[in-house]
């Protein structure tokens, strides 16, 4: 971007201009316009991410309650009181335990099944498009619509119990304290798997073909090749899947709200986010809800770091 104005007649003026533009360049970089173009985006990040995030932490440390709009109310600093209230509430412990149950079922199933289906799809010749589309149809559909089908399928006299006949659990799936959370985990696994299959499919394109060739020269069978070449080859994708599945688990709301009628039976399928909604907005304790949110995020980040350490490798 060389800007030399033609009417700059005197060299002195030109020098001054050059000096100014080079100073500007040193200060803002070669294309200061970049900053201008990013500004709307960065402002939005400030308004809908950064500020609310700080607000959430602030709220969790104060006695915050809903007041009439415009009213100037003093919010007392209460230190860790809200966190103590959260830590001594058995319902909160139950909800975090429920996410634990969710993750124990959802994560291994997601990783194993989506890797298997992606590997099979990658080698398939016929009906590739049909298969790929049918795998991601649940992913692109609204949770609310899919929950409706599962409610129908897993209801007391529903198709699943009809097929199981005498083996049907009693009480039925969604009102059974031991089965409600596993059904939610299965639902989320089923709904999200199409996306993970696509991730693995992309990762499989990056596994060097030579590795498969040398594996087959060495006489490795299909199973051996899968475990020795494919699985390590897609490790970066696995790390990503682990991370995203954990975040999904921490964000559960729609499924316990609708599928098990508000986290029932007796809180057996409550999620922390559902609890945040109930405590914060239904019962009017936004400060306690914010404290749950802060704890939740710290836990997710910790788990993500541990996973990174365990699975190893970088995302790139």
């Amino acid at each position: 971007m060389v800007t030399v104005s033609p009417e700059a007649s005197t060299t002195g003026r030109r020098d001054a201009q050059d000096a100014r533009s080079s100073r500007r360049r040193r200060l803002l970089g070669q294309n200061p316009l970049g900053l201008l173009l990013s500004t709307p985006y960065l402002i939005f990040i400030g308004v809908v991410f950064a500020y609310p995030m700080i607000f959430a932490v602030w709220m969790s440390l104060h006695d915050y309650f809903f007041s009439a709009p415009g009213a100037d109310v003093e919010r007392e600093f209460v230190g860790l009181d809200n966190f103590v209230a959260v830590a001594t509430d058995p319902a909160v412990w139950r909800s975090f335990l429920n996410v634990g149950v969710f993750l124990v079922i959802n994560v291994p199933l997601t990783v194993v099944l989506s890797m298997l289906l992606a590997a099979a799809l990658n080698k398939a010749v016929h009906a590739r498009v049909f298969l790929r589309v049918s795998f991601y149809v649940p992913y692109v559909s609204a949770s609310v619509a899919l929950v409706a089908i599962w409610l129908f399928l897993f209801s007391g006299p529903g198709l699943v119990n009809q097929i199981l006949g005498p083996l049907a659990p009693s009480p039925s799936w969604l009102i059974n304290p031991f089965l409600a959370m596993p059904v939610i985990a299965l639902f989320v696994t089923w709904k999200g798997m199409g996306f993970y299959i696509l991730l693995y499919l992309a990762a499989l394109q990056n596994v060097p073909k030579e590795l498969y060739e040398s594996a087959s020269t060495d006489g490795a069978g299909a199973v051996r090749t899968f475990f020795s070449v494919t699985v390590p080859g897609v490790r970066p994708a696995t790390l990503l899947v682990l991370l995203l599945a954990t975040i999904t688990g921490a964000n559960l709301f729609t499924e316990p709200y609708l599928l098990t009628n508000g986290g029932g039976p007796n809180g057996a399928s409550t999620s922390p986010v559902l609890l945040m909604y109930q405590k914060g907005l239904e019962q009017g304790n936004p400060d306690v809800a914010a404290a749950i949110g802060v704890i939740l995020v710290i836990l997710v980040l910790t788990i993500a770091l541990i996973q990174r350490r365990l699975v190893g490798g970088d995302e790139s």
């Binding site: 173009l37 709307p40 619509a145 073909k209």
Partner: protein, 303 residues
């Protein structure tokens, strides 16, 4: 360029297919049978509930036995659609969902293209920091922000029961920025420089040179963004209390959790609503399945 990338993609797909075919001829027949058995079971598991949803929505009386999955055509009726429409107003719900979704898509495209261009083609001080922020935003879960955003948008700004309030938290999308950045990075530098030497301003370069070259990215971002707001439940649920402002996902959910108990054939009406809610997204992704490919998703998540 856009046609050539598409041609490239097609050539690549053909090569993959050819490679797969040779591998099959090398591999055992049993391997292929096993592979298609797994894939077939997978497709059945993923598709059957959708089939069952449509069947259930067309039956006057729910038949939950296995035979009910293959209903007598005489039992088929659209009565459930009439019923759910009377209860929640399907058209109004679709319109609200549509406005919400369109608003989010427009904002995502506008801010995403500008930021993506600035983060890939232009060199400016602070670019590294800005890029780090874009990546960082992706790992902040919306749930941490739910309570403060509700306080800010619904109470402080008084935007509850408004489209603006629904759209605001979704107006920017880091995945879109990353996808645009990835595409802009692939455009040869010389094209931009040529336009600049011809005297085009930077905005002109973006509008007339860069954008037409990344048209596939536009479609990908529109598709990926669409499923966010169209399927979103939690945020519009928090912010809309008035039935006439609720997107279809919210009004259907409210019907499921409160009203359904009083209906004669609750599942029929619920499933009819579910069909109406699910169909736009499903049709869109079947029509544009070619544009929804795995590499874009990868760059959207990883950067």
């Amino acid at each position: 360029m856009s046609t050539s990338t598409r041609a490239d993609a097609r050539a690549q797909a053909r090569a993959e297919k050819a490679a797969a075919r040779t591998e099959v001829s090398h591999g055992s027949r049993w391997g292929a049978i096993l592979r298609y058995t797994i894939l077939g079971i997978g497709a059945l598991v993923f598709l059957f509930p959708f089939y069952y949803m449509v069947i259930g929505s067309l039956q006057l009386k729910p038949d939950t036995s296995l035979a009910g999955a293959f209903p007598n055509p005489a039992n088929i009726t659209l009565q459930n659609y009439v019923e759910i429409n009377e209860r929640i107003g399907l058209l109004q719900g679709l319109v609200n969902s549509g406005i919400f979704t369109m608003g989010v898509i427009l904002c995502t495209l506008l801010f995403g293209v500008l930021a993506g261009y600035a983060l890939s083609v232009l060199h400016w001080r602070g670019r590294g920091v800005a890029f780090a922020i874009v990546l960082l935003v992706q790992i902040v879960p919306f749930q941490l922000l739910m309570i403060p955003l509700y306080v800010l948008i619904a109470r402080d700004y008084g935007l509850s029961d408004s489209y603006l309030g629904m759209i605001l938290p979704f107006a920017i999308n880091s995945a879109a920025v990353l996808i645009f950045r990835q595409y802009f990075l692939q455009v040869p530098r010389a094209l931009f420089d040529a336009a600049r030497i011809d005297g085009a301003s930077e905005l002109r370069v973006l509008w007339s040179v860069a954008l037409p070259l990344v048209r596939p990215a536009l479609l990908t971002v529109i598709l990926l963004t669409f499923i966010g707001p169209w399927n979103e439940f939690l945020w519009p649920f928090l912010i809309t209390k008035e039935a006439s402002m609720q997107p279809l996902a919210v009004s259907l959910a409210n019907y499921i959790s409160t009203v359904a108990a009083s209906a004669a054939n609750p599942y029929g009406a619920i499933l009819a609503g579910a069909v109406v809610l699910a169909i736009p997204a499903v049709v869109l992704f079947i029509v544009f399945q070619r544009q929804f490919n795995s590499s874009d998703i990868g760059s959207g998540v990883k950067g």
